[in-house]
């Protein structure tokens, strides 16, 4: 049997057209119900997706929507847009880029909120409430049913802040070129800052260190360490885990502190040293760190 080109073309085109429809239909109520037994384990607390339905409806559904797709009634008015839980992609993780966050990560995000977004800190919730909501958030994505969370990155004990470490951190800042987006002074005015887009093609701003704002994924030294080592998935912020060694990472954390507006030991030392912003015209330093 000879099959003409246009027939097969028609067939392929039809399959191509219907496939997205089918994959959309994939995320049906029935699918969610199949995953409703989802649990979370945070410390000694076990969360059950089922138990979070009431809280989700009360607190979350206006933005994240009934299906967890981030298409709640406020979707058109909210910027940054609400997270689509079906994709299973999260900014704030302790796990490497491209992997699922841990239950603790999700719980921390709920409690911390995401500054400069419409997500407020829900730190009034009990651990049980947060654990239940984490399980509920996970049940929206098929990924959590089939994949394990990534292995959290190791954060070594924080060393003592020294002038040498801050200077070394400045070198790291220059070498991995944080300034491309964040700017040499941390004011989010680097050459690439104005064209940044998130994974859905929507404009997104780099973090401005100098405004006194808290970074989205936490403001402790450990949080800063984690942010650049894991990257913020779904955003332009990449993971630097392959390019910054653990000890250097602490140096960079200390240097980042000097850019922030809050008074800190690092800031005082930088002032004493008369530390200048990195020079972007200096020839790029080969890494030599492999």
């Amino acid at each position: 049997m000879r099959i003409t080109l246009h027939k097969s073309l028609l067939c392929t085109a039809a399959v191509v057209m219907v496939f997205p429809l089918a994959s959309l239909a994939q995320q049906t109520k029935a699918d969610f119900e199949a995953r409703i037994g989802m649990e979370s384990h945070i410390g000694h607390v076990t969360g059950h997706a089922k138990s979070a339905q009431y809280d989700y409806r009360r607190y979350c559904v206006g933005c994240h929507g009934d299906r967890g797709d981030g298409m709640g009634e406020n979707f058109p008015w909210v910027d940054p847009k609400p997270r689509d839980f079906q994709l299973g992609i999260f900014k704030c993780r302790s796990t490497p880029t491209g992997t699922l966050p841990t239950d603790q990560d999700l719980s921390d995000t709920i409690g911390r909120g995401l500054d400069r977004s419409n997500m407020p800190p829900w730190n009034v919730f009990t651990d049980q409430q947060k654990a239940d909501l984490v399980a509920w958030v996970k049940h929206f994505s098929p990924r959590f049913a089939s994949e394990k969370p990534g292995t959290p990155i190791q954060i070594p004990a924080e060393p003592e802040v020294t002038a040498d470490r801050i200077k070394a951190g400045r070198e790291v800042f220059a070498r991995v070129q944080c300034w491309k987006c964040h700017g040499v002074t941390g004011e989010a005015n680097g050459p690439s800052a104005s064209t940044l887009q998130d994974d859905l093609g929507r404009p997104i701003a780099a973090f401005n260190f100098t405004e006194g704002s808290r970074p989205k994924c936490g403001s402790s030294d450990q949080d800063l360490y984690r942010i650049f080592m894991t990257g913020l998935d779904g955003t332009p912020m990449p993971s630097f885990a392959d390019n910054i060694k653990p000890d250097e990472a602490w140096d960079l954390v200390f240097y980042l502190r000097t850019l922030m507006s809050e008074p800190s030991k690092e800031k005082a030392i930088a002032k004493q040293l008369g530390l200048k912003p990195v020079d972007t015209n200096a020839p790029a330093q080969p890494s030599g760190q492999q």
């Binding site: 392929t12 992609i89 990924r143 070129q177 994974d199 332009p236 630097f240 020839p283």
Partner: protein, 247 residues
């Protein structure tokens, strides 16, 4: 939502029946490996490819000072050959040919603030490498649809950074971007089974194809797909030429 699901299910069922009737599949007989080759041409006036202003990154601008960089969505050679078309076997492959991903490691290099090659084809599960030859920082940020099983990731590659080695779980045409240099745009074409990419003249050869009847699909990032039926008999390479018409 329920209706949508039903609709999709019905459409899919109809499609399977129709396609089954239309496309006759053949048993692949285990025999010596054959080849499929051919040429992909572009008919018509090639579309204008927008130039790229790299002045925001002096390194990139300097690296391209002698050339005039432009977008690479449709690259047509002098003889009308279409470059960067991915060819793969969309139907007719059986288990053995599918289960073993290729073992070579294709390389996706960031050079002069562009991706080389512009389209990197690979097999599902095949390890590939992303390298940087540039003295400016890149971030390598593929953005697949996580529903397919391919998970987006985003890694930095400052000057001198070690290669990133990864693989993909499912067939998908994945866009790759660098957020630092918004003009940088490439593809990971992840397919199942043997594949080839056209060269500057539009020529290709898919190797390691067992004898049998196949549907070959040609995919071009903006022009879409075309398919052709071929029979690989073992001796001479089966021929399948394609022509994409300009709009």
């Amino acid at each position: 939502m329920k209706n949508l699901q039903k609709l999709a299910a019905v459409l899919m069922a109809v499609m399977v029946v129709l396609c089954g009737a239309l496309l006759l599949t053949h048993e692949v007989s285990a025999a010596s490996e054959g080849k499929i080759s051919g040429t992909v041409k572009y008919e018509g006036t090639p579309p204008h490819m927008r130039g790229i202003d790299m002045s925001k990154d002096p390194y990139c601008a300097k690296a391209n000072a002698s050339t005039s960089p432009h977008m690479e969505n449709v690259v047509v050679g002098s003889g009308g050959g279409l470059e960067n078309v991915v060819l793969y076997i969309s139907e007719g492959l059986s288990g053995a040919a599918l289960s073993q991903p290729a073992t070579n490691v294709p390389v996706f290099d960031q050079k002069n603030c562009e991706y080389t090659p512009h389209v990197l084809a690979m097999d599902v599960g095949q390890t590939f490498k992303v390298t940087t030859s540039d003295q400016t920082a890149h971030n390598i940020h593929p953005n697949p649809n996580p529903m397919t099983g391919n998970i987006p990731w985003n890694q930095s590659q400052p000057p001198g950074a070690p290669p990133v080695e990864k693989s993909w779980k499912a067939p998908e045409m994945i866009e790759v971007k660098c957020n630092i240099h918004p003009w940088m745009h490439g593809w990971f074409a992840v397919v199942k089974g043997p594949y080839a990419t056209t060269d500057a003249n539009g020529n290709y050869t898919i190797s390691n194809v067992p004898p049998g009847n196949y549907t070959v699909t040609a995919w071009q990032e903006t022009l879409g797909t075309q398919t052709a039926k071929v029979t690989v008999s073992g001796a001479a390479p089966a021929k399948a030429d394609f022509t994409f018409k300009g709009k």
